[in-house]
């Protein structure tokens, strides 16, 4: 088990290094720079600005400087937010993104798995088609359509939830003050969770149907085991394996979804910083966020690999 974990870790570390290098050279090799927009600056001022951000040095030297600093957790100063460092920006953005991301993944897992099991146990009945139809809609209607529609419905028409602010306002916050600070996150979390709910539901259903056809399930039923125990003790355990392995891509999906959702709901999270940084060529900001996001996804994949080794006896753990 330990060697397996170490091996996986040995792959994860170079992956992160690869991501950092690829993003660094992609951004710097492209024509144009962050100070193109300020055309009326004096040439000397631009030179000084470039020197301040190390942009006047040869590319490879910049790369080494960056790697050295990044390894110590220093992602440098931001270019568009001139009085703040990237680390400070990340420190303000990360909690917002983590909150909606973790809540969304939790809801998606809970609802998606329940819907999948429910549907699989009623395969080809009318209710199965209804549930899967709902799931299909969740895949067909992207979050950037859902989010504005929900805002219109719950924010503008019913005035239940706040729009584009982290202040708890609207009908729901007044009716149930206990919810307090959670209220502004409700819509973003739902918008973020819905596509993942749909994917997880379809995945669970497919896997469960496959498992329920297996011989050992028939054996369990034949020896008179209660149906509840057959389903929960034997079928669900094996049926959830594909869902576990989907957790990695799910995190990637949540992370990319967060970019859109944060932009729509104007939440000050990592995704919004990323888009602003990318559009304005704020190299340090974009790189810092890519590193954090990639680290999150890689870490999740690592956890999934280890979990898989524990859950699935067929995976050779010491291999």
């Amino acid at each position: 088990m330990l060697t397996f974990a170490l091996k996986r870790l040995a792959i994860a570390a170079p992956t992160l290094f690869f991501v950092v290098s690829l993003s660094f050279f992609l951004m710097h090799l492209a024509p144009g720079g962050p100070f193109d927009a300020d055309a009326n600056l004096e040439p000397q001022v631009i030179e000084n600005l470039k020197a301040a951000y190390d942009l006047d040095k040869p590319l490879f030297q910049q790369y080494l400087i960056y790697l050295g600093k990044a390894a110590q957790g220093n992602f440098g100063p931001s270019i568009i937010y001139q009085d703040r460092t990237v680390s400070q920006l990340i420190a303000t953005g990360l909690p917002v993104s983590l909150r909606i991301g973790l809540a969304a993944i939790f809801i998606a897992g809970l609802l998606g798995i329940s819907m999948g099991i429910f549907s699989a146990l009623r395969q080809n009945q009318r209710i199965d088609y209804v549930v899967m139809g709902v799931a299909m809609t969740g895949i067909a209607v992207p979050s950037f359509v859902l989010a504005p529609l929900m805002t219109l419905l719950f924010g503008v028409i019913f005035r239940l939830l706040p729009i584009a602010t982290l202040e708890p306002s609207g009908g729901l916050a007044r009716a149930v003050p206990a919810l307090g600070p959670m209220v502004p996150y409700i819509l973003p979390v739902i918008a973020l969770a819905i596509p993942q709910i749909a994917i997880i539901a379809r995945l669970t259903r497919g896997a469960m149907i496959e498992v329920l056809r297996q011989n050992y399930i028939r054996t369990a039923r034949a020896k008179g085991m209660p149906e509840k125990r057959v389903v929960w003790r034997h079928a669900v355990q094996a049926g959830l394996l594909p869902v576990v392995s989907y957790l990695g891509p799910a995190i990637a999906g949540i992370v990319t979804g967060a970019v859109v959702v944060e932009s729509i709901f104007q939440l000050p999270g990592m995704g919004r910083f990323f888009i602003q940084g990318a559009i304005n060529r704020d190299y340090p900001l974009v790189l810092g966020i890519v590193i954090i996001f990639a680290a999150a996804v890689i870490l999740m994949n690592l956890i999934v690999d280890l979990l898989y080794g524990v859950l699935d006896p067929k995976v050779k753990v010491d291999g």
Binding site: T15, L26, I139, V141, F144, A252, I279, I298, N301
Partner: protein
Amino acid sequence: MTLFQAQSESQLQLMDAAARLKGRSLWQDAAERFSKNKAAMGGVIVLGLIAIMSIVGPMISPYTLEDLSWESIGIAPTMENSHWFGTDDTGRDMWVLTWMGARVSLTIGVMTTFIALLIGVAYGATAGYVGGRTDNLMMRFVDVLYALPLLFFIIILVTVFGRNIYLVFVAIGCVEWLTMARIVRGQTLSVKRKEYIEAALASGVRTNTIIRRHVIPNVIGPVIVYVTLLVPTNILVESYLSFLGLGVQEPLTSWGVLISRGANALETAPWLLLIPATFLAITMFCFNFIGDGLRDALDPKDR
């Protein structure tokens, strides 16, 4: 003598009967199963209609993309004036915009999938065919890329190299080939070792014929299924980029661009969001139904 004659006569009869029985190929079987699948056939028909309308739709309307008129800003869908889908906040006709957007969105979906198909098949087939250490190394690389939020790379690519439509094609295509490579490699590996390949080799069938009759038909099924599922994925990726303002640029339009503009005018002109979003969703449904139908039709396990 008579015995021999009788035998050969019955043999002839048998051969005659066999000749009259027409063999059914894998593809005929699959086509028959597919045509019986109502959801999938519905998907084909609706998708066909959308594709046709994306070509002829703008021609039917009396308006063009360049017709901006101050008198006709923000008209709701109406049968008068021939603004069947209404107009947007600059007075452009939504009917024309929607079908022009369909043209771009569908083209991008198909083109990017084609690029992903080329890279994925070449990469996967090489890895699967060569095998051994090369295969191991190539697939490790895919694993590494798989672990990344790749949409970020598309965004970086698109922002740093300028926002033109061809770059969007290439960026999406270059990123979405990973699953394709995995599928093709797995198929190649398993088909290579199958008994029927051995049997064909043993009975002296030529390599070309083996590849044409045995390898390709058995590799291509899952690839076709994945292609029909990748097209809507890529349409969504393009919409996502366009929604963030990073994809297709004006005056060109796509469903993503229209949805993005519609989302900003939702309170005053909801049809600007609802019309393109509806067509996008319908297209997603169609491709998913067709993909599911193809999987059921081509998967020999469920016969």
